[in-house]
């Protein structure tokens, strides 16, 4: 079962449309029970890290998410803010986050580049079970970006006023700063790579 976490400010329906388009069924997860049976968990994200964390707390989903992703090693995909909250802390509204990955989320320097970053940017992804190594354009909408402490967690880099982590990967955890569900064919292909994983391998 594919579970898409459906919290207040998220865009779960958009992710669901993309998943359905690829021929998979999925549930919009609002309760812990919707997560415990999942084979794949997707955490979409729009808005701020703080609002997302608050929403997940209010819904009582955090401990079940941690149990599924960190203990049971269920495949996980975070998107945009759903990637940012995996880190320890976000500068945005000084939000404490999940801390599944070591590192901070910081703001782009608006004195050098236009913020938010808005549009299609070029990403180099390294080979993982989800995809071969590739160079593709994906759609970004972000003012903040993650600075992973461990370089080995970086799945791919893009450049916006300097290199930044466009995607991260650790064990069963995958996450993209870009909107995989809104990145045309390139995004759908990558999403398909994630959804076709079984027990972590293709």
């Amino acid at each position: 079962m594919i579970s898409i976490i459906d919290y207040k400010a998220g865009n779960a329906p958009s992710v669901l449309h993309a998943v359905n388009h690829l021929g998979y069924e999925a549930v919009l997860a609002r309760y812990p029970g919707d997560i415990s049976r999942a084979t794949h968990i997707i955490l979409p994200g729009v808005g701020s890290a703080k609002a997302t964390m608050e929403s997940l707390r209010e819904m009582g989903l955090i401990s079940e998410l941690e149990n599924a992703v960190l203990q049971k090693k269920i495949l996980f995909l975070g998107i945009c803010v759903g990637m940012q909250i995996l880190f320890e802390h976000s500068e945005e509204e000084n939000a404490d986050c999940l801390g599944w990955l070591k590192g901070q989320v910081v703001k782009f320097d608006a004195s050098k580049i236009r913020v938010p970053q808005m549009g299609w940017n070029n990403v180099n992804l390294t080979k993982t079970p989800v995809c071969e190594s590739l160079n593709e354009f994906f759609y970004f909408v972000n003012s903040y970006y993650a600075k992973p402490k461990n370089e080995s967690d970086i799945w791919g880099l893009a450049d916006y006023g300097g290199p930044f982590a466009a995607a991260v990967r650790k064990d069963n955890i995958y996450a993209t700063q870009f909107h995989i569900e809104k990145s045309g064919i390139a995004g759908l292909n990558l999403l398909n790579g994630f959804l076709s994983l079984k027990n972590g391998v293709r």
Partner: protein, 260 residues
């Protein structure tokens, strides 16, 4: 590197895409989801939909059309028209839109910008504004509302600065003077805007040939260009494909997303 975006902009009346020249004489082109699907298939970078009669008819945005589009296209799209409050924004975002465009309503009630930015993030809020040259304004440009029919007495550049302060994450400037003329974007307007704000800017109004894109992206810091007549207006002697425009941009040293 971030690429320059080409955005197809649809004016919608009763679910149909229409095309007007200087805000008059609308002609029907195709159902919204159909043309959106076609544009997605030819790999346009982004889409914008304006429900152009929602405000005047005092009704909410056409959510069914938004939903149909969201099932068909997997690129970002913005919706506007008839957005009055947070609930309207929430509905449109849940229906599958990435961003909300606010125009006349933001002039009447600027707080809608800050409320929207707080609830959904700045990146969701596009301040769209219709501007016309005016010698009475310090910047030389005045804001118009209600389908570009009503002058506000507000300076356009002051207005976009304020909108950015309130939390708008992107600004779309439509030149009323150039709209539908196919004579090129108002480059002076874009230069004034780029110096005034740090959020991304979308240029709208006046595109007729690929050279207009080159001028815009070479002479100004615009991040995106709205093209619609060039792509599908039956009034044009020649329509261009997205592929032709992208190739032209890249040949002229403009960073664009190549087609797959």
């Amino acid at each position: 590197m971030l690429t320059k975006r080409l955005i197809a902009c649809f004016d919608i009346i009763n679910g149909m895409v229409t095309k007007a020249v200087r805000f008059q004489d609308n002609i029907n082109i195709a159902p919204a989801e159909e043309l959106a699907g076609t544009m997605y298939d030819v790999q346009i970078d982004e889409l914008i939909f304006y429900d152009i009669t929602a405000s005047a008819e005092k009704r909410r945005i056409d959510i069914e059309t938004v939903k149909k589009v969201a099932r068909r296209v997997f690129i970002p799209f913005t919706v506007g028209g008839g957005i009055k409050n947070l609930e309207d924004m929430y509905e449109a975002l849940k229906a599958g839109a990435e961003k909300i465009s606010i125009d006349s309503m933001a002039v009447r009630n600027p707080k809608i910008i800050s409320d929207g930015a707080r609830a959904f993030g700045s990146q969701c809020i596009v301040l769209s504004t219709q501007v016309k040259m005016s010698k009475q304004m310090p910047s030389g440009y005045e804001v118009y509302i209600d389908g570009a029919r009503v002058a506000t007495g507000m300076d356009a550049i002051e207005w976009i600065k304020r909108a950015q302060e309130l939390g708008a994450g992107e600004i779309c400037l439509n030149s009323i003077d150039n709209d539908g003329t196919l004579s090129g974007y108002d480059l002076e307007l874009m230069k004034l805007a780029e110096a005034a704000v740090s959020v991304p800017l979308i240029a709208s109004g006046g595109a007729g040939t690929p050279e207009h894109l080159k001028e815009l992206f070479t002479d100004t810091d615009a991040q995106a260009a709205i093209i619609s007549s060039m792509l599908y207006s039956p009034r044009m002697a020649k329509n261009y494909t997205v592929n032709e425009l992208k190739k032209y941009m890249m040949q002229n040293g403009i960073n664009a997303r190549p087609l797959k």
